[in-house]
């Protein structure tokens, strides 16, 4: 299997769809900075897994889930804004992770590796992506109402605290999907940049979903196919293409 074979595209494309959808609510919930920082928590998990000789992706996922639960608990116990909680907890995670992970491993953990995932990793990844996409589509009505007003959401029968937790877990799972391919730094960007672009050009929720997923998938596809031709790593190229779309959207005027 080469980087250009259709099989190799399955996981990155699933990751791109999940990132586009999850990113829409991250951007609308004003989690742009926090969301990026949230992805950093995977780093100490990857580092610890490498030290223990375990699978680094598994270590990253475990750290992400634990970190998400910590953020949710801190937010609901202390009333500190999510942005502040995520900023503090996960900047610290980046510091600890950098000490545990060194050299090439650190670069791969931050920016993604060229190694292809094994069949079980692909299978689990696709299942996780399907789970994230299904959650966002099913929960979109509850997420929209909670976005407009948490009080209105309560009167509509929405358990807002539970919804927050499920959304954060979906976010963490999406970051985990890109750990191998894009790394902890760039995956945060793939979640935020296409959604920010979509927010700029869309006037309704469905259009925002379509534009965010479209840009995320197109950037991933073009980046993956173009990287060997340009002899650059795929991850940074994917993010550069997405960022180019964002810059172009600034020229777009909504009518």
């Amino acid at each position: 299997m080469t980087a250009m074979s259709p099989d190799a595209l399955v996981l990155p494309l699933c990751m791109a769809v999940a990132a586009g959808l999850v990113g829409c609510f991250a951007v609308m919930r004003r989690m742009t900075l926090g969301a990026d920082a949230l992805s950093h928590v995977a780093l100490p998990g990857i580092g610890l897994a490498l030290v223990l000789g375990a699978n680094p992706v598994l270590g990253g996922v475990t750290a992400l889930v634990l970190g998400t639960l910590l953020v949710w608990a801190l937010e609901h116990r202390t009333q500190v804004p999510t942005e502040a909680v995520i900023g503090v907890v996960f900047s610290a995670a980046l510091a600890v992770g950098s000490m545990l992970t060194t050299g090439t491993e650190l670069i791969e953990a931050l920016f993604g590796a060229r190694r292809l995932p094994g069949p079980w990793e692909t299978g689990l990844g696709v299942a996780a992506a399907v789970l994230v996409v299904a959650f966002v589509l099913r929960a979109r009505h509850r997420l929209v109402i909670a976005l407009v007003s948490r009080d209105l959401a309560r009167t509509a029968g929405v358990d807002v605290a539970r919804l927050d937790l499920l959304y954060l877990l979906a976010f963490a799972l999406t970051v985990a999907l890109g750990l191998r391919y894009l790394g902890v730094l760039l995956m945060g960007s793939l979640i935020i940049i296409p959604a920010s672009t979509a927010r700029h050009v869309a006037r309704s929720l469905n259009t925002m979903f379509a534009v965010a997923v479209g840009i995320s998938v197109a950037s991933t596809l073009l980046g993956t196919v173009g990287a060997p031709l340009l002899r650059v790593p795929a991850g940074p190229l994917i993010i550069a293409i997405a960022a180019g779309c964002f810059l172009m959207s600034l020229l777009w005027r909504r009518t």
Binding site: M28, R30, R140, H141, R142, V144, I145, L147, V148, S149, R150, D151, L152, R154, T155, A156, G157, V158, A198, R199, H200, A202, R203, S204, L205, N206, T207, M208
Partner: protein
């Protein structure tokens, strides 16, 4: 139609504190099913906090009892919607319709009830005027056939003739469905005409509950607001 003798809401010894500050203290009242209760009082008296306690959005002491199966529609006074949010009025209404199991035709009928055109509902919510947004929120509250409507009236936003129209529409719904209405208002003439009972809240004083004629006397209003206050009802009477 609900049994008018059965209460739609019983509040007993309700106290709300934020840290060391007591916003509401020992508030008790009952609202009969299908009745209309107006909540009045100066700014900072805890009117909006009372509604937030009723929807369980703030911690409180005391008891708030809704009969089983109560469906609450809540219209908040003000919401800070972020600019440029790509969420249209349809997105918001459809979301509520889905959660309450309402038919798509219900969405169209509530927009008609609150007098919003399809073109306005198709706009992003952040571009709506204050009055349009308030109507959208009222439409949102009415979706799912609420048995109780909590209406925290804006001091600005809905223009006055439009406001009368909204209250007429709510009164028709009350006649047709037995909807119970609790509303907060600064318009004393409106309170005089629309409410069966008036709950007067004032910081540092015991709450007062009575009929509009009992509650809206110049003496009581002066005690409550700390300044002489008169209002003219639409029949030309002066209280």
């Amino acid at each position: 139609m609900p049994d008018p003798s059965a209460p739609a809401l019983v509040v007993d010894g309700l106290t709300v504190r934020f840290g060391k500050r007591t916003v509401l203290e020992d508030v008790s009242f009952t609202v009969p099913a299908g009745g209309t209760l107006a909540v009045i009082g100066p700014n900072g008296a805890g009117k909006t906090v009372l509604f937030k306690a009723l929807i369980d959005a703030v911690p409180y002491e005391g008891q708030i009892r809704w009969p089983p199966g109560t469906r609450i529609g809540y219209v908040p006074q003000k919401l800070d919607i972020e600019r440029d949010l790509p969420i249209t009025g349809w997105d918001v209404l459809r979301a509520k319709a889905t959660l309450t199991g309402s038919a798509p035709s219900d969405v169209t009928s509530v927009t008609g009830l609150v007098n919003l055109s399809p073109e306005v509902v198709a706009q992003p919510v952040s571009t709506l005027s204050g009055g349009q947004f308030q109507r959208l929120l009222l439409g949102f509250a009415l979706l799912g056939h609420p048995s109780v409507l909590l209406f925290d009236e804006p001091t600005a936003g809905v223009d006055e003739p439009g406001e009368e129209g909204l209250y007429d529409m709510i009164a028709r719904l009350q006649d047709a469905t037995g909807l119970t209405l609790l509303f907060i208002s600064h318009e004393l003439a409106l309170v005089y005409h629309r409410a069966d009972r008036v709950l007067c809240l004032s910081r540092g004083r015991r709450p007062y509950l009575g009929s509009p004629i009992e509650a809206l006397t110049p003496e009581r209003l002066q005690v409550m607001y700390g300044t002489p206050l008169r209002f003219h009802d639409h029949d030309g009477h002066v209280a």
